[in-house]
Symmetry: C2
Subunit: 144 residues, 2 copies
DNA sequence: CTGCACCTTCCCATCGTGGTAAGGTCAACA
DNA sequence: TGTTGACCTTACCACGATGGGAAGGTGCAG
């Protein structure tokens, strides 16, 4: 199998497969005499694993950790669970952040007439609710 | 006000302020004879506007649109609302995506013993639930 | 006048992916 | 057999938004 087939079989692009090799996420593929990368079913399996991990939002680094655990027959499921739950916590953190943004904006928009008139609570918020004048933690020497 | 003070007053970094000028998000700042950028209260106001828009998750591009609407006294609130709601939709889309990831992982983790044993539904999912073998849309010429 | 906090521009790194260019390889078909 | 063109290779640049740092100039307190 050439890289194009391997990419298609794993749901990745050829670019990504080469990139994963370049950063050491996967071992360098075997080569034909002409220099073409050659992939076997094990390689495809690994690439699919990566694809799936990425689709669950794992970073390349975390994906690498999972790959190592996967390859380690003596792993503890506790280690895998820890990586997963850590990621879940990270996802929840991001979700909460986006949730806050969406709710705030939705609230502002619901109070906006949405007509030809220029008055708008959204712009009012943006122009007023900016960061507070920064409590001085490490005072500057000049311009005080 | 020099750039450091402007940055502190707006909650941005000096780097970001220069960057916003470089990409044309804000007009080039006035300069002293020595070449130092000088900021007035209007500039600070604008920078805070940007800071707030960014904190609500608007991209630089969308932030620019909002800035233009803000400066346009004849704007329609409908235009502002449209930009805001479009962004809300984008946020909701991302939230749903992350929600799906988190729920899937949480579910898998809840079925993981989390002990010293190697068996783990999380790794099982990753190694099995990969992308399906890609329905052929544009068949390759070779290797058929 | 010295020291140093601040300013300037310029370049590089991040992260993961896509694009493109310049060139080599391989199989199908006339 | 030769042509075609889909495929492969490496190498470079781009994105978005930010941080880091180098090399050098400015300005004020002491």
């Amino acid at each position: 199998m050439n890289i194009g087939d391997a990419a298609a079989a794993s749901g990745l692009s050829a670019k990504m497969v080469r990139y994963y090799e370049a950063i050491g996420l996967v071992a360098p593929a075997l080569r034909t005499e002409a220099g073409y990368r050659v992939y076997g079913s094990d390689d495809i399996h690994t690439l699919r694993f990566i694809k799936r991990a990425r689709s669950l939002g794992f970073s390349m680094e975390k994906t690498g950790e999972l790959l190592q655990l996967w390859r380690d027959r003596d792993r503890s499921s506790a280690d895998v669970k820890a990586v997963a739950l850590e990621h879940v916590a990270e996802l929840e953190r991001k979700i909460a952040e986006l949730r806050g943004m969406a709710d705030t904006l939705q609230h502002l928009a619901s109070h906006c007439h949405g007509d030809h008139r220029p008055g708008c609570p959204i712009l009012r918020d943006l122009s007023a609710n900016a960061a507070p004048p920064a409590p001085v933690t490490a005072p500057r020497r000049r311009r005080t």
